[in-house]
């Protein structure tokens, strides 16, 4: 470990707090720039998708249980399951598929 964990935490916290607090305190009028608005609009979807796949395959004991969780989680979310429920469904899928089939 070359780097100090507390320095990492300080940097990430400073960036996060700036991101969350600055727009609320600085912006009084409405954002008008369409390009900037559009970019910010798409950012979360790309970031979360990229972080989910293929990482989910390596998070579990078996690649296949991770893949199954992705597929079933996606279907559940598509059908309208809440954030909490999708998270629980994914966990259950991994647990039982590894227990019964893939273990």
């Amino acid at each position: 470990m070359e780097h100090e964990i507390y320095v990492y935490i300080a940097i990430m916290s400073a960036v996060t707090l700036a991101i969350k607090i600055l727009p609320l305190t600085l912006i009084r009028g409405e954002i008008k720039n369409t390009a900037l608005k559009s970019f910010l609009h798409y950012v979360p979807y790309v970031t979360l998708a990229v972080m989910t796949f293929p990482a989910i395959l390596y998070a579990t004991n078996s690649k296949y249980s991770g893949l199954l969780a992705l597929v079933v989680g996606t279907i559940s979310a598509w059908l309208g399951a809440s954030l909490f429920r999708v998270a629980v469904i994914c966990c259950a899928i991994v647990f039982f598929s590894e227990l019964w089939i893939l273990g």
Partner: protein
């Protein structure tokens, strides 16, 4: 219709309880990642109470795990949390001009996907006490959940850890899939992101996960913004 600060606080606590329960589980699994990255329980608690950001913290922990340069954690945090910039901007529009300025700072501190969701779902101007009410169950669950994951994550059998490890991904899926169903462009963006992420991982596996996320986010979100700029009428759909 004017409601009292006390009533807003109580409403906030009520709506914050289910959020808190979810945060406890997700915070716990985040703690498992934090432990892999070498954080102790206090460091995990500190990170979570200051950031309150699942994807952002997760991304940060992967940087710490790889002992990557400090600049990388600043960049990845900026990218992973960029959506809060938009949420904070949206919430700035809901503040009444006679709400004291310091409330903007505290409300901003507690911007999360879920708290943003319940805040914009409320009619009328934003009452900061509603947000503070939601903080009461949500924030401790999140930060103590992380610390608990670091402490107890290693005591759990591998099958349980394996199962809990996907909770966070399940949450990410639950954030990106419902809008994909409603909006073809977002559907395409998510699909292209999955494919590009997979291909990058296969063919350029020397690029760290953090750098890959930054690179693909700027590339794909930038391309989407150029090809399909959002229209004025869609501005409220920004979460």
């Amino acid at each position: 219709m004017l409601i009292t600060n006390r009533q807003a606080l109580l409403d906030g606590i009520r709506d914050g309880i289910p959020i808190g329960l979810g945060y406890l589980v997700v915070g716990f699994t985040l703690g498992i990642t934090a432990k892999h990255a070498g954080l102790n329980p206090f460091q995990g608690f500190l990170t979570s109470i200051l950031n309150i950001a699942s994807a952002g913290e997760y991304a940060g922990f992967t940087v710490i795990m790889n002992d990557a340069p400090y600049l990388e954690i600043a960049a990845i945090t900026l990218v992973a949390n960029a959506r809060y910039l938009l949420m904070s901007a949206v919430m700035s529009q809901k503040f009444s001009s006679d709400t004291p300025f310091y409330h903007r700072i505290f409300v901003g501190f507690g911007v999360t996907d879920e708290i943003f969701g319940i805040t914009v779902a409320r009619e009328g101007k934003l009452n900061p006490f509603y947000n503070y009410g939601a903080f009461i169950p949500a924030l401790p669950c999140w930060s103590f959940g992380t610390a608990l994951g670091i402490v107890a994550g290693s005591l759990l059998p591998s099958s349980i850890v394996s199962a809990l490890s996907v909770a966070l991904y399940g949450m990410f899926i639950a954030i990106i899939i419902p809008p994909s169903r409603k909006d073809k462009v977002i559907f395409s963006v998510v699909f292209v992101s999955f494919a590009a992420s997979f291909l990058t991982e296969v063919f350029f596996n020397f690029i760290s996960p953090g750098t890959r996320t930054i690179f693909l986010t700027i590339l794909i979100a930038g391309a989407a913004a150029i090809i399909k700029p959002i229209e004025e009428k869609e501005k409220s759909d920004g979460a």
